[in-house]
Amino acid sequence: MRGSRGGRERDPGVEEILRGRRGEGPISRKAPGPVAWFDVRSMTTGHLAFSIHRITGIGIVFYLYLHLAVLSMLLGGEDAWSGFLELATTPLFLGLDVILVFGLLVHGLNGTRLALVGSGFVADHQKALFWSGMAFGAILLLYAALHVFTAGD
């Protein structure tokens, strides 16, 4: 769908986000079901952002409960926590931490874009906002990964 404002053609992705605000749920509905999240045929920036937002969101909710379960080990006392720390500082687990930071950055930065565009701000620059956010996120991710793997050395 194409719209216009001030004589300029509006990006179809913007219409999608604004329509999503009016639609059911807090985030734009792209398709009838989650299968569409992985449908890469003719994937636009808006569709890519939508799919990534959904997938990272589910991952972060899963992590929220995993985090609560891990922190519950603290109730077992110092020995239980020290045992967990030995496991959590192995390269495999540190790598999973970096994946978590990746998910948080992508979800947070794209969520910021959705909030701005859905509120009517910078609606005509939503693609540029997405890619600049991802570029900024990549820099932060690199810094975080370096910190996670080198802290305490």
């Binding site: 807090p26 985030i27 922190l71 926590w81 947070g108 509120s119 910190h147 305490g152």
Partner: protein, 124 residues
């Protein structure tokens, strides 16, 4: 707590607004949480020892910040889950059940989280 599913525009817009508001708050709270937990600690992986965790959570201002973080992240997570699950397509009856289930899950999560950090703070 009963939650009425509102298919009207006002209800949908309210859901979007709360997701956006909690999302913006989380930008600040997650940054504080991540930096305080993982970027000011010198041990590898930025992970605290048992004693460090207890001392940290027992600090009153940190306890309040972590408590607010717990509530805001849970509200945002439940609204997000709702949105994802609604993508599956549901009848009004199932939607109402979903709303109640998510409110219950959110309350259980917040209560358990507060019990957890409360017990840990009391051990410091």
């Amino acid at each position: 707590m009963a939650v009425r599913s509102r298919p009207d525009g006002a209800g949908r817009s309210r859901s979007w607004r709360w997701t956006a508001l909690t999302g913006v708050a989380l930008l600040l709270l997650v940054t504080i949480h991540m930096v305080a937990h993982h970027f000011v600690v010198e041990e590898i992986g930025g992970l605290r020892t048992y004693r460090q965790v207890l001392d940290y959570i027992a600090t009153p201002v940190i306890f309040v910040i972590e408590g607010v973080f717990l509530v805001v992240v849970t509200v945002h997570a439940m609204l997000g889950l709702r949105s994802v699950l609604l993508d599956l397509g549901m009848s009004d009856r199932r939607r109402r059940l979903l709303d109640r289930a998510l409110v219950a899950l959110g309350i259980v999560t917040v209560v358990y989280g507060f019990v957890l950090i409360g017990v840990l703070a009391s051990r410091a």
